[in-house]
């Protein structure tokens, strides 16, 4: 009996306009593959190689042999007599949290009551928070407010700070030790670029210094290969939901509650509304369901399930338009910079 070919379930083929990707979510890598191979994988997974050769004809026989050799050599799949022993992976995505992530923007005019805000995020079981400070902030002020998260369900905090005399690597490391929920600190407006050092017991937090000046939420929405995430949870969420806005709730510099701080639509102010009450507004969740398969250009992009979307800055007035800050063209396979 001829053996059948089975793709590992952690290797997900994604077809694009001109080429495809094979997303290996276990190893966190992608490999570019021709569209023909992607087509073969979707049609003939769990079948004999000869079935594909019979369909495409003798002209393609040599190519198809090479394709299968490539898949086995790179451990994307294996031969088996019993493909039925390896059922398909469930591609649905679920989270027990009403909100998984949130952004809190702060500038010198902001008057946020962090105790109330963190309490609100707690109520909706938010797991990950990002605090973005566009102006200078004292480390002591930061540390005093982060104490409100000590017994919180929030499991990770990312800080974006403006460079000051205080934002030395030593001081930020100390802050990280004091508040173990801090996972990463990005320092903008820095005189020089400095990459993160390896996380260790002595330095438990990732600190990166950037030259770029970030003074408002208008800087957000960048799309580049550096922001790609090849990971199972992200990929499954992207298949069904918006990869940026799903289960996200944000507070802008004025305290306005929004899907994303860069958006204009506000659902009330944190001073007189709770995040939980905003979450119950049906309109608020509308953008959560816009996945990449609905968005112009993105729907034919081979990176669509590892990329994070942006609905705040669009190429046109169409709500399903391509993100404005994405310069990738899936037809030419080039980043037009």
């Amino acid at each position: 009996m001829r053996k059948k070919f089975k793709l590992f379930e952690c290797c997900i083929p994604v077809k694009g306009a001109s080429r495809s990707t094979l997303c290996d979510v276990q190893r966190g890598k992608i490999k570019f593959i021709p569209n023909l191979l992607c087509e073969i994988l979707s049609k003939y997974d769990g079948q004999e190689k000869e079935a594909a050769i019979a369909f495409y004809g003798p002209d393609y026989e040599q190519i198809i042999h090479e394709y299968y050799d490539f898949l086995v050599e790179n451990e994307f799949g294996f031969w088996t007599d019993h493909p039925e022993w390896f059922p398909k992976m469930d591609l649905t995505w679920e989270s027990p949290s009403a909100i998984t992530n949130g952004i809190i923007d702060v500038n010198k005019n902001s008057d946020h009551n962090f105790r109330k805000i963190f309490g609100d995020y707690e109520q909706v079981h938010c797991k990950h928070l990002q605090l973005r400070f566009f102006d200078a902030v004292e480390i002591e002020f930061l540390s005093n407010n982060l104490k409100y998260l000590e017994k919180s369900v929030v499991s990770s905090v990312e800080l974006i700070l403006k460079f000051t005399e205080e934002t030395t690597r030593e001081k930020l490391k100390e802050l990280g030790k004091e508040h173990p929920r801090i996972h990463r600190i990005l320092v903008h407006s820095s005189p020089e670029f400095s990459e993160a050092l390896k996380i260790s017991r002595e330095s438990p937090v990732e600190v990166v210094y950037f030259v770029q000046v970030i003074d408002s939420s208008a800087h957000c929405g960048n799309i580049s290969m550096e922001y790609f995430t090849i990971e199972q949870d992200t990929l499954l969420e992207s298949l069904s939901f918006n990869s940026c806005l799903n289960k996200k709730i944000s507070i802008d510099v004025n305290g306005d509650i929004k899907n994303c701080p860069s958006m204009t639509k506000s659902y009330g102010n944190i001073k007189n509304q709770t995040l939980k009450s905003v979450l119950e507004l049906p309109d608020f969740r509308h953008l959560w369901n816009i996945n990449k398969d609905q968005i112009e250009t993105c729907k034919v992009c081979e990176f669509r399930y590892i990329c994070t979307d942006c609905r705040a800055f669009l190429e046109s007035d169409n709500s399903l338009a391509k993100p404005k800050k994405c310069s990738y063209n899936p037809y030419t396979m080039k980043w037009d910079d």
Binding site: E75, F78, H82, P204, F210, S243
Partner: protein, 71 residues
């Protein structure tokens, strides 16, 4: 009372129909860094890395334009 047998990597490898496990074992066996990470995660799980293991995988927002940063 019978002593419970400790499972080894070989036991897992010998399981029928477990290519996913096989793939994982290959990864850890062939890559010393992966072995160290596994050891490190195990030894420090109850101390400093407790919270950091659960950080969000995808970027929450994307303010930094990497193209403008020197490499």
């Amino acid at each position: 009372m019978k002593k419970k047998k400790k499972s080894s990597l070989d036991d897992i490898r010998n399981l029928k129909g477990a290519p996913l496990n096989y793939r994982f074992i290959r990864e850890v066996e062939s890559d010393p860094t992966a072995r160290n990470i596994a050891k490190f995660a195990e030894s420090t799980f109850h101390s400093t890395t407790k919270y950091r293991l659960t950080s969000m995988a995808k970027p929450i927002s994307r303010l930094i334009n990497h193209k403008n940063e020197p490499k």
